[in-house]
């Protein structure tokens, strides 16, 4: 079985003051498509390169299948890596690029031919087998890089931002292609990206990293609906979640949250009030997604806020409205047919299930 387990995986670069990867624990099941996602320098590529064997392990364990591979060279780990740069061998033809790994493993010639032809058919590369990488377009090169991985039929596919060199349209197309490929091969895939949209659209589960630490692991829906902390809440979703600092008032045992300038009003559910009481904090950060804010007064529980329109971004199917309210700036998504002009004052609301409360210092969600 080709599951991949990371146990307390840690990386410190020589001379590095901080840990590039800090005690990462992750169990990746056989056949799972997992995305490591996070901003630049969060350690996602380091983690991938450690799994591949291109970086040494400072401490912790990497297990592929049922073998601990810490001390195995890359070639003995039965993995394939698709590079951001594709890393095609420029002096070899497409066929040569795809067959190189099998050749090195002394696979019989006819088997190599069958594997390459098969991969070329899947990736629509049959007519380019005799070309050199320089004669291919970016998208074709990208497919050759995928093909090179496929022919080896590895235990796990590692991909390091494979789409970031493609233009927007091709990226969407290839995204679907990779998802289809994963479905077809049923192979374990570990995919690194800084683009949360890629992660959300392709992954079975997403691991969000920040500054070397694993912030949260979960399905795209879990991460979207129930972010564990303010970082994940802000990272997943586009446009980003709005955050507003609020004060906590405890009046005769009843918990209320108010804004310093009283420009917004929140009616807490009992569960929310309990969570905030248990945390024992004097202020909280309220998070609410732009798509969960309605352009209408509040019905029962939740947030109500009066704000004035500052910027209107028309996207065709919807409109992103930047509004300000007191010191807070929010983004709100409204229906494209809503008549709006700059300077309008709106009464906006968000239902209770669209609200997230975070600890003001640790950023951990209060539940």
């Amino acid at each position: 079985m080709s599951s991949v387990n990371l146990r307390e995986l840690t990386k410190r670069y020589a001379g590095g003051a901080t840990l590039s990867l800090d005690s990462m624990n992750l169990e990746i099941a056989h056949g799972e498509f997992i995305c490591l996602v996070g901003p630049s320098g969060c350690g996602k590529t380091t983690a991938l390169r450690m799994i591949a064997g291109l970086e040494s392990v400072t401490s912790g364990e990497i297990e592929i299948g049922d073998r601990v591979v810490n001390d195995l060279p890359p070639r003995d780990r039965d993995i394939a890596l698709v590079f951001q740069s594709y890393a095609l061998y420029p002096h070899m033809t497409v066929y040569g690029n795809m067959s190189f790994g099998l050749e090195l493993r002394k696979v019989p010639k006819d088997e190599i031919k069958a594997a390459v032809t098969d991969a070329a058919r899947i990736l629509d590369l049959e007519e380019y087998l005799d070309r050199k990488p320089a004669q291919l377009s970016g998208g074709q090169r990208q497919r050759v890089a995928l093909g090179r991985a496929i022919v080896r039929n590895p235990a796990a596919f590692l991909m390091d931002e494979p789409l970031s060199n493609l233009d927007a349209k091709l990226r969407v197309q290839t995204r679907a292609e990779i998802a289809r490929l994963h479905h077809r091969l049923g192979a374990t895939m570990i995919y690194v990206t800084h683009d949360q949209v890629e992660a959300m659209t392709m992954a079975d589960r997403i691991a969000v990293l920040n500054m070397g630490k694993l912030e949260q692991v979960g399905s795209p829906r879990e991460l979207y609906d129930r972010p564990a902390n303010q970082f994940v809440a802000g990272f997943i979703g586009s446009p980003s979640m709005n955050f507003m600092p609020l004060l906590v008032e405890n009046v005769d045992g009843a918990i209320r949250v108010v804004s310093a300038q009283h420009h917004m009003d929140v009616i807490l559910s009992d569960a929310e009030a309990d969570a905030i009481r248990r945390a024992g904090v004097s202020n909280v950060v309220l998070g609410v997604r732009p798509e969960h804010i309605d352009n209408q007064p509040r019905r029962d529980l939740g947030l109500e806020i009066r704000a004035s329109v500052e910027v209107i971004e028309f996207l065709g199917n919807e409109v992103h409205v930047h509004v300000s309210s007191g010191d807070d700036e929010l983004v709100v998504i409204v229906d494209a047919r809503t008549p709006l002009s700059i300077g309008d004052t709106l009464t906006l609301s968000a239902p209770s299930d669209g609200l997230h409360f975070f600890h003001p210092e640790t950023g951990v969600v209060l539940r």
């Binding site: 394939a80 740069s85 890393a87 320089a134 291919l136 090169r141 080896r152």
Partner: protein, 303 residues
């Protein structure tokens, strides 16, 4: 789609542009300079193709008014001597025996050293490289006597004295070719994306496979230029051969030609014919390696 620029692009210069007055003037000037530079070589060629007796009577340019003077006689004479020791063919073989191994060894050792300097993981790579670059300024004349002594010491210790032998000359040439060779190859290797090596490593290649299946093919242009330089340096060397092969009966072409000009009554027919022969080999090497000078070999490797 990025097309690699190749040498063929000059054919794309449109006719109108090629016939522009500024271009015509440029080409005429370049042509004159080229002919000027070629005169000594052409005269040498003509002298070698005229009978020996005519050499003292008239200048070589007379051949333009009397083409019937041209003859293969000198070449026939020089080659008819065969491979006997001290003859021109024997010297030609000796030159090749020295130059070919010296060139191959420099190209091979330089590439291996540069591979380690660029892609290896060991402390002090940069310092070693700087020391090697520093060695390029050492003139080979200063090393002649110490190396002769060193060779003699080797003889005393192991009974193998390279002095006076062809391997002795080869070792000297290799040693002095390496600093430049390593410098050239190292600088070329730094341009090869590390991703390519890592890709190879993941696919199952060991260091040696990575070296000769990935790095070496990509470095062909650099190796070709290094080989041409090294070949011509060693081929044209007289000093090292004189010092280290002084007593050997087999002398390279440079010594052979030098021996023919020493006396007042030089054998001009042998000198000119031998000199032409000694030019032909480097020309063959140059033109056979020239095709590797194609720009953009790395195109398409990484985006």
């Amino acid at each position: 789609m990025a097309k690699s620029t190749s040498v063929d692009d000059r054919r794309l210069v449109p006719l109108a542009k090629r016939l522009r007055p500024s271009r015509v003037v440029l080409n005429v000037v370049l042509g004159i300079v080229a002919i000027f530079w070629l005169v000594p070589t052409i005269s040498l060629l003509v002298i070698s193709l005229r009978p020996e007796a005519l050499f003292g009577q008239s200048g070589w340019w007379k051949v333009f008014t009397a083409p019937s003077q041209l003859t293969w006689g000198n070449y026939a004479a020089i080659f008819s001597q065969g491979f006997h020791t001290g003859g021109v063919l024997d010297s030609l073989m000796t030159s090749l025996e020295i130059t070919i191994p010296a060139t191959i060894l420099v190209a091979l050792i330089s590439s291996l050293a540069a591979y380690s300097l660029v892609f290896g993981y060991w402390r002090g790579r940069d310092i070693i490289f700087l020391v090697i670059v520093g060695l390029m300024v050492v003139p080979l004349q200063v090393a002649l006597i110490p190396v002769v002594q060193f060779y003699r010491e080797l003889g005393n210790l192991f009974g193998l004295n390279p002095y006076g032998t062809i391997p002795g000359v080869i070792i000297f040439h290799v040693a002095f070719g390496l600093p430049f060779g390593i410098f050239l190859m190292r600088n070329f290797f730094t341009g090869i994306p590390k991703d390519l090596l890592e890709a190879g490593r993941i696919e199952g290649a060991g260091e040696w496979k990575i070296f000769y299946r990935i790095v070496l093919p990509l470095a062909l242009p650099a190796i070709a230029s290094l080989a041409i330089f090294q070949f011509i340096w060693v081929w044209n060397d007289l000093l090292v051969a004189l010092v280290f092969l002084g007593g050997n009966v087999h002398a390279p072409l440079t010594i052979f030609l030098y021996d023919q000009t020493r006396s007042l009554a030089a054998n001009y027919w042998i000198v000119s014919t031998g000199a032409v022969v000694s030019i032909v080999i480097p020309l063959i090497v140059f033109f056979s390696f020239q095709r590797y000078f194609i720009r953009g070999v790395l195109a398409g490797a990484v985006k």
